[in-house]
C-alpha cells in the first residue's frame, strides 16, 4: 500500500432506483442497487469488481463517472467530489476519466465512421488541432491492434473483437488517467477474449492508466486486477489483494463463488460448495446479512444483524459475522 492519496475514493455510495407509484402512492418499491459501498482505487493499479447479476457492479462504475446520479455518498476523483462539480467543470474532467462498454455492437454509433468516432472527442474538447487528429487516431488504432486502413469504415464492417478494440482506442486517445471498463470481454469468444485481455495488460504496462475493471468472470479478474472487491446484492462482501482473495477467501460467498467456477481440467477433484436457492430479488433483499438466505454457515445473528465491513488484516476487508 502506498501512502499516496488514492486517485478514486468512493465513500458510502448509495444508489436507489425507485418505482414511483403515481399521485398518491410514492416509491412503491425501491431497488437498492448500491447500498453503502466504500472503497479506494490507488494510482496506477487495476481494481476489480466482481459480482453476479443484481450485485450493482455496473451501477457503481457508472456512478463513479457520473453517468448516473447517486442517491447518497461521495465519489472523489483526485480529492474532488465528482457529483458536486458544475456541468462545465464536469465536461472538463470527462477526458481524464473514460468508460469502456460491455457490448461492442451497441457502443458504436452505426452511422459514424470509426475514425470520426475515435477522434471526435479530441476535437470537441479542443485537445488538438484539426490536422493532427488523423495522426493521433492512427496512433491509437495501432496501439489497439488495428490500422490506419480501418479509419474510413463503419462499425458494422468489424467483428466483435475489433469493435472492442475501437472502443478502447476511443477511450485512450484522450489520454485518460482513469478508465472504467464494464465487462469489456464478456461478450467475446475465448480466442478473441484473450487478445483483448492482453491488450489491457499492455495498456496497464505502457500507459500508467488506473483501471476499474468490472466483470462477472472471476478468472478474468484474477488475471488483470491487483485488488478486488466482491459484491453481492449491492453490498461489498469482501475486499482484498488478488493473492489474499484467491488463495485464502474469507467470506463464505467468495468461497462459494470461487468454487463454482468450472475449471477446464477433468481430472481435478474439488470440494465444491453448491449454494442453495436463487439470488434474491434486489427489490426485496433479505434482512441482516444479505447473503444469509444462501449461506451454508448462517446463524440466527446473520438474519437480524447487518455485519460490519471491517478490516481483518492490512488492506483486507470482510463483511461477515463469522470472520
Amino acid at each position: 500500500m502506498t501512502n499516496e492519496a488514492p486517485l478514486i475514493e468512493v465513500k458510502n455510495l448509495k444508489k436507489y432506483f425507485g418505482e414511483k407509484g403515481g399521485l398518491f402512492q410514492r416509491n412503491v418499491s425501491v431497488v437498492k442497487a448500491v447500498d453503502d459501498v466504500s472503497f479506494q482505487i490507488h494510482r496506477g493499479e487495476t481494481f476489480g469488481l466482481v459480482g453476479e447479476s443484481g450485485s450493482g457492479k455496473s451501477t457503481i462504475g457508472k456512478s463513479i463517472l457520473r453517468l448516473q446520479s447517486i442517491t447518497e455518498g461521495e465519489v472523489l476523483f483526485d480529492g474532488k467530489d465528482v457529483h458536486k462539480l458544475s456541468n462545465a467543470e464536469m465536461r472538463n474532467l470527462r477526458p481524464k476519466i473514460q468508460f469502456i462498454f460491455q457490448d461492442p455492437y451497441s457502443s458504436l454509433n452505426p452511422r459514424i465512421r470509426v475514425g470520426d468516432a475515435i477522434g471526435e472527442a479530441l476535437l470537441d474538447h479542443g485537445l488538438c488541432e484539426k490536422h493532427e487528429v488523423a495522426s493521433k487516431v492512427k496512433e491509437v488504432l495501432e496501439i489497439c491492434g488495428l490500422s490506419e486502413y480501418h479509419m474510413n469504415r463503419y462499425p458494422h464492417e468489424f467483428s466483435g473483437g475489433q469493435r472492442q478494440r475501437i472502443g478502447i482506442a476511443r477511450a485512450i486517445i484522450l489520454q485518460p488517467e482513469f478508465i472504467v471498463a464494464d465487462e469489456p470481454v464478456s461478450a467475446l469468444d475465448v480466442s478473441i477474449q484473450a487478445q483483448i485481455i492482453n491488450l489491457f495488460s499492455k495498456l496497464q504496462r505502457d500507459r500508467n492508466i488506473t483501471f476499474l475493471f468490472i466483470s462477472h468472470d472471476l478468472s478474468v479478474v484474477e488475471h488483470l486486477c491487483s485488488r478486488i472487491g466482491v459484491l453481492y446484492l449491492g453490498t461489498m462482501m469482501e475486499l482484498g489483494s488478488r493473492e489474499q482473495l484467491y488463495s485464502n477467501p474469507l467470506h463464505p460467498y467468495t468461497k462459494a463463488l470461487l468454487s463454482a467456477v468450472p475449471i477446464p481440467d477433468p481430472t481435478l477433484k474439488r470440494e465444491r460448495i453448491i449454494l442453495k436457492g436463487d439470488i434474491p430479488n434486489p427489490a426485496n433483499p433479505p434482512s441482516g446479512c444479505k447473503f444469509h438466505t444462501r449461506c451454508p454457515f448462517a446463524t440466527e445473528r446473520c438474519k437480524v444483524e447487518v455485519p460490519e465491513f471491517k478490516e481483518v488484516e492490512s488492506g483486507r476487508f470482510v463483511a461477515c459475522h463469522l470472520v
Partner: protein, 327 residues
Amino acid sequence: MGNTVLDVKNLLTQYYTNGGVIKAVDDVSFSIPKGQTVCLVGESGCGKSAVAMSIMGLIDGGSGGIKNGEILFEGKDLLKLKKHELRQLRGNDISMIFQEPMTSLNPVLTIGGQIMEPLMEHELISKKEAKKRALELIELVGIGRAEEIFNSYPHQLSGGMLQRIMIAIALACSPNLLIADEPTTALDVTIQAQILDLLRSLKEQRDMSMLLITHDLGVVAEVADYVIVMYAGKVIEEGPVVELFKNPKHPYTKGLLKAKPVINQRQEELYTIAGQVPNLATLTPSCYFSERCEQCMAICKEQMPKINDLDNGQRVACWLYEEVTTV
C-alpha cells in the same frame, strides 16, 4: 451398435445468409453411446447449435436446410421420417433445452400448462393425471412450492428457476436423449453450478444420453464423457474428455485451452490465437484454421485434412498428424 443412441453421419447443413449460402455444418459425423454425455465445443458460429437444430428437425425451411447425411436415432434415420413421425419423437424420445430460459417459455401461459403440454400430446393422459405428473416434475428439478410454481407465469421466476422448468419440460416424457444448447451460458456462476449439478444427477438417475453444447471448456471438463471440438462447421478434434484435455492434438484445441484464463493459474501473458474466425461464406478448400495456425504448412492452405484415428481413442483433422498415422 445396440449401445448407440444417436449416430450422425456426414451431416451437411446449410443456411442462407445475405452473404450467400454457408455450410453451417460441414460433413460432421459422431455418435452418442447410451448413458453418456457428449459435448460439442466451439466458438460462436462454429455450427454447434446448427447440429442440434438439425437433429431436432427445427431448421426453418426458409433459412436453411439439411443437404446431406444421416441422423440415426435408435436405428431410425430421422431425415427419412415423415413430418408427423418426427414431431412425435420430439419432446418425447428426444428433447432439448435452450440457452435463454427467459425467452424460451411462453410469457402468457402458466408454467404448469407448459409442462403439461408435452405430457398430454405424447402420452395422451388426462389433464388431471398430467397435472399430477407436472407437480412431480417441478419437485424433481429441485423447486419446492410446486403448487404455487404450477400456477405462476414465467416472468415471476428467475433465470435459474426457468431453466429448471425447461429441464422439467424436457424430461416430462422420459426422453432417451437430451440435447442441451448452452444451458448455463445466460446464468450466473453460482446458478450455473446448480444447474450443471442437476443435469448430471438427473442423467445418472435416468440413464439418459446427453448432447451438451457449450463454448465453455470449464463446463465441458465438468460434465463430458466425450468431447467434440468444432471449428467453422467442421469437427477438428474429438476424444474422451481426459485424453483430450491432457493431450490436445489440434493446434486450435491447444490454443483454446491455453487462451482461457484459469483461476489460481495466473500467467503474466495469455496465449492468444491470432486473427478471427473466417467468414463461412468465402471458404476455399484448405484447413479452415490454417490462417490462424502457428504451425501452418503449405499443404494446409491447399487441402482440407481428413479426420483420422489416433492410438489413444482421439481423432484429429490436422496435417501435422497425417504422417504419424500413415507410418
